[in-house]
């Protein structure tokens, strides 16, 4: 497992936050996913060794939590809230709009590798529904026009790369 020195420093630091090493499981997985983009097979044995556990102990955690992925996703991650308050305000249409814009469907990487569009459950921003997270950033009151803007910006940023 080849991780950047900064990541390794963070990993060693975070382990000290807990009286029992095993507690550092999720922080380690987050750090690895932030660097690699997903949790590859070798990360599972690496984390197990680091924390003095069996690979199964890591594997069962990775497969339980929706945010940990076993496969790479698109360069940008569009997460549309699916839950009731957002749906009442048009969340499903917004998700379809992104699917069309990027010629993809929920859960799949778009053909150009640019985005993964996904439904997620309540993002705790129901008062400004519908909401969408693009990578780490929350967009609120996303109507058709705002979804268009978001999609256009993602495409423009992709062209600049």
């Amino acid at each position: 497992m080849n991780l950047k020195p900064e990541t390794l420093i963070k990993i060693d630091e975070v382990i000290t936050h807990y009286p029992e090493k095993r507690s550092a499981m999720m922080p380690l997985l987050h750090l690895i996913q932030e660097e690699v983009g997903y949790i590859p097979e070798e990360a599972i044995t690496w984390v197990a060794e680091k924390l003095g556990l069996q690979p199964i102990n890591v594997y069962e955690v990775v497969t339980f939590y929706p945010m940990f992925r076993r496969q790479p996703i698109g360069r940008r991650h569009i997460k549309v809230c699916r839950t009731l308050s957002c749906a009442l305000r048009g969340g499903y249409q917004i998700c379809e709009k992104f699917e069309q814009e990027f010629n993809t469907h929920r859960g799949a990487v778009s053909p150009d590798g640019e985005v993964t569009v996904e439904f997620v459950e309540c993002l705790a921003s129901c008062g400004t529904a519908p909401v969408v997270m693009v990578d780490d950033d929350l967009h609120e009151q996303v109507d058709g026009a705002k979804a268009q803007q978001i999609a256009d910006r993602i495409k423009a940023e992709a062209r600049q790369r």
């Binding site: 936050h17 807990y18 095993r22 924390l51 102990n57 945010m67 940990f68 009731l84 009442l88 705790a124």
Partner: protein, 453 residues
């Protein structure tokens, strides 16, 4: 009757122009003065203030905070942990996110006072994975507070030391349930533990006594330490003290968070006056008063009975609009104040579709340990989705009820109830819509209605 004025104590600085989330701004507004005072008092005196305040937990169950602290096993000799539940994932709830983003030091001050009161030397903030910015903001705030000696070793020269660390979740709703949260913090799947014996107050994190409190609850503790438990208990109504933050979403003109002395505002005042009423041309149809697991209410239904007011028993006869928004009144009519998430649906909503949306949530989020919950939530989802997208049948309503009725009371954690109550209450209140769905769905809908599933 006009709605009372908002009384913003916890949300005082939320969305205030010029207020920022850094330490300098917090100090300018009198920040950490309460902590400075608190650490000069005997810890037990602070616990007694919280007991006198009558503060009830704001995370969902409404359990009295002082009682919870009183249950902590202090004789075991083991360390006592405190965990801030910042998992905020009950659909319809969106108050903690504002507190974390805009006023993190209020939370840290309340947390440190609670830690000092309970002789806690290590606290964790369990924050949901979908709040990456929130986790960064809290991390920065804790670093600032540590540099100013409000957190860390030898706090304010008292000899008392306490650390706070942030622990990020990863997208599983069940991490909000306190024993699931503890398992998750131990680096495992968030499988809730069976109670007894695993009451957090006795056998919590690392099998040590542990206090789990919601973000908002701990913010209230700061104000209780400031004004005293008795003064706090005078805000709100008997047994429903302090202010309550209502998170209103769905079909109203002005959704958002509103803070009122608990029990002083009715549902009708909240929705019609504070939130501006229904959208143009629409009428209110249903409301879920305390997060998506709370039982739904139907506009037009009436609630009658007797209740205690002080020492007297008085008759009540309420419509949905008349309901006082406090823990006890909502419990009395068979639903709950829960997390304060008020989800409003108007007459454009088909209740079968709304329930299908909710059921998809619970099927996705069941941790899978208990067969009635894992299989039941999945079947409720499959049935309601099929009613919407596939062939609906006259007998589906009865079948749904049969599945839902087999879950509550047969599971490890309260998710079992939480996933069954929507189906049970939707069927009880809107039974005809479910029974007739196979016919009504043939009628084309106006194109303006939003898809819910």
């Amino acid at each position: 009757m006009p709605a009372p004025e908002q009384r913003r104590i916890i949300f005082k600085h939320i969305d205030e122009s010029g207020y920022s989330n850094d330490l300098a701004c917090y100090l300018k507004h009198g920040g950490y003065e309460v902590l400075k005072q608190a650490v000069t008092r005997p810890p037990q005196a602070l616990i007694d203030e919280v007991k006198r305040s009558g503060l009830r937990g704001r995370g969902g169950a409404g359990f009295p905070c002082g009682v919870k602290w009183g249950l902590v096993d202090r004789r075991s000799g083991k360390p006592i942990y405190l965990i801030v539940n910042a998992d905020e994932s009950e659909p319809g709830t969106f108050k903690d996110r504002y507190l974390i983003h805009q006023d993190p030091h209020q939370l840290i001050e309340g947390t440190m006072i609670s830690c000092f009161a309970n002789n806690v030397t290590q606290a964790y903030i369990y924050i949901r994975g979908e709040f990456p910015h929130g986790a960064r903001i809290l991390g920065k705030a804790i670093a600032e507070a540590r540099a100013a000696n409000f957190v860390g070793p030898n706090i304010l020269g008292t000899g008392y030391s306490c650390e706070i660390h942030i622990h990020r979740g990863a997208g599983a709703y069940i991490c909000g349930e306190e024993t699931g949260l503890i398992e998750s913090l131990e680096g495992k799947r968030a499988y809730p533990r069976i109670k007894p014996p695993y009451f957090p107050a006795v056998l919590g994190l690392y099998q040590c006594p542990t206090i789990v409190n919601n973000v908002e609850t701990l913010c209230h503790v700061k104000h209780i330490a400031e004004i005293g438990g008795e003064a706090f208990a005078r805000i709100g109504t008997a047994n429903n003290t302090g202010t309550r933050i209502f998170c209103v979403s769905g079909h109203v003109q002005r959704p958002g968070c509103y803070e009122f002395p608990t029990g002083t505002i009715t549902m009708g005042q909240l929705l019609n006056e504070v939130c501006g009423g229904p959208l143009p041309g629409r009428k209110f149809k249903a409301v879920i008063p305390g997060g998506s697991s709370a039982k739904v209410l139907r506009f037009g239904e009436r609630f009658k009975g007797r209740r205690k007011v002080g020492a007297d028993l008085v008759d009540f006869d309420w419509g949905v609009e008349d309901l006082p928004m406090d823990f006890d009144s909502l419990a009395l009519i068979g639903t709950m104040g829960g997390s304060g998430g008020v989800i409003v649906m108007d007459d454009s909503v088909n209740m079968v579709e709304a329930l299908a949306n909710i059921n998809a949530f619970y099927a996705h989020e069941s941790c899978g340990q208990c067969t009635p919950c894992r299989e039941g939530s999945l079947w409720m989802k499959k049935l309601t989705t099929r009613m919407v997208h596939g062939p609906a049948r006259a007998e589906d309503a009865a079948l749904l009820k049969d599945v839902a009725d087999q879950i509550p009371g047969r599971t490890i954690c309260a998710f079992g109830e939480a996933c069954a109550w929507p189906t049970q209450s939707f069927l009880a209140k809107f039974g005809d819509e479910f029974k007739n769905h196979h016919e009504t769905k043939q009628v084309p809908k106006p194109t303006a209605t939003a898809a819910l599933v």
